[in-house]
Point group: C2
Chain length 211, copies 2
């Protein structure tokens, strides 16, 4: 009498059968859809089950509960979310490295809008579940990036800017296209968003950062 799959080494793809892999994937995708729209409290297991095409008890066979699904999503998200900032190369050209970071963030906003909204929802609610994660993973990474940018500024390779607020601005402007998609859609109806956004953010941050 083996244990249920959620008891084995969690999220370890190697120990999961094909069915487990497929259904956990379906559930997480459905949950992303629902959580990103309604937040944790506003989402229901019935919605997720419906979206996933599985029964509610079946979903609770793969996950320990609503919270477990949400935490799993959030953990998956953090890796993907922080990757672009990790990839900023201290040895590259300062301005081009930062602009590449802006592009990457904008692309992620366009490619993974649900992930962006999931994150936004969690932060809006006061980061109750991801808060510790932020302190453990995000804070050191940001501190490191801030120090790097400051060194670049001191070396005269960038204009004098507050690195922390710069990072906030990059996050805010890029994620806006995902998080406020409903509003952007109304105000840009018919118009092409993507290339315009890229050109605009290019101008915005290039002008700010060019010494």
């Amino acid at each position: 009498m083996r244990q249920a799959p959620n008891d084995a080494t969690p999220a370890d793809g190697a120990t999961m059968s094909r069915i487990q892999l497929r259904n956990r994937g379906r559930i997480l995708d459905a949950a992303l859809e629902v959580f990103s729209k309604y937040g944790f409290r506003g989402a229901t297991l019935d919605q997720i089950a419906d979206e996933a095409g599985l029964s509610k008890p079946n979903i609770l066979y793969y996950f320990d509960g609503k919270e477990d699904i949400h935490v799993t999503l959030l953990n998956q998200l953090m890796d993907r979310w922080l990757a672009p900032l990790r990839e900023v190369d201290p040895k590259g050209d300062p301005l081009e490295e930062l602009m590449r970071y802006v592009y990457r963030k904008l692309e992620m906003s366009q490619e993974f809008p649900r992930e962006s909204r999931l994150f936004a929802n969690e932060i809006l609610q006061g980061a109750p579940r991801i808060g510790p994660h932020l302190e453990r993973d995000l804070q050191p990474l940001v501190d490191r990036s801030v120090a790097l940018i400051q060194r670049w500024i001191d070396a005269g390779a960038l204009a004098r800017v507050d690195p922390r607020h710069l990072i906030f601005s990059i996050w805010a402007t890029t994620q806006h296209y995902a998080d406020f998609e409903a509003q952007v859609g109304v105000l840009m109806e018919g118009k092409e968003v993507q290339s315009g956004a890229r050109a605009h953010l290019d101008a915005l941050f290039r002008r700010l950062l060019t010494p």
Copy 2:
């Protein structure tokens, strides 16, 4: 046997007794607290009642239901939210008018963070209740502002920027301090946020817009 207060000319302060005025105010304040944190679906009447210090049935004496409270809040919000953009003066100095708009939006983000998060929550969920409002009120206002900015650009008073994306950037960067307060708090612990944000956004948009 007079009707319940929610049947009279709604939100008409003149026809409301002192008690009605006070309790409706309490309820709306409590609802703002709860809705801005959890969104419409995630908020409960019990939470609102608790926060307002009133019983649940008492709350339903003043409002027709959960939706009514939410819609009332959203309507109140839209006026306040669009005011700064309306106040941009076509006859003023272009750069200074836009910078003043940036400051006003930043101040509102700091003064009314709950309102900002209420709005963010509504848009995140696809603007189900405020959507028509956006098309009726926001869209024309933005179109008008875009046209004005374009005229300023054509007159050589501003750098060549896409006015629509400029507006998005202003919204995104200013509202970020309210909507992502939980994250900003973690990354700026101990540090002063307000003045740094103002200086940074001043540099960001001044550099972008100066011809």
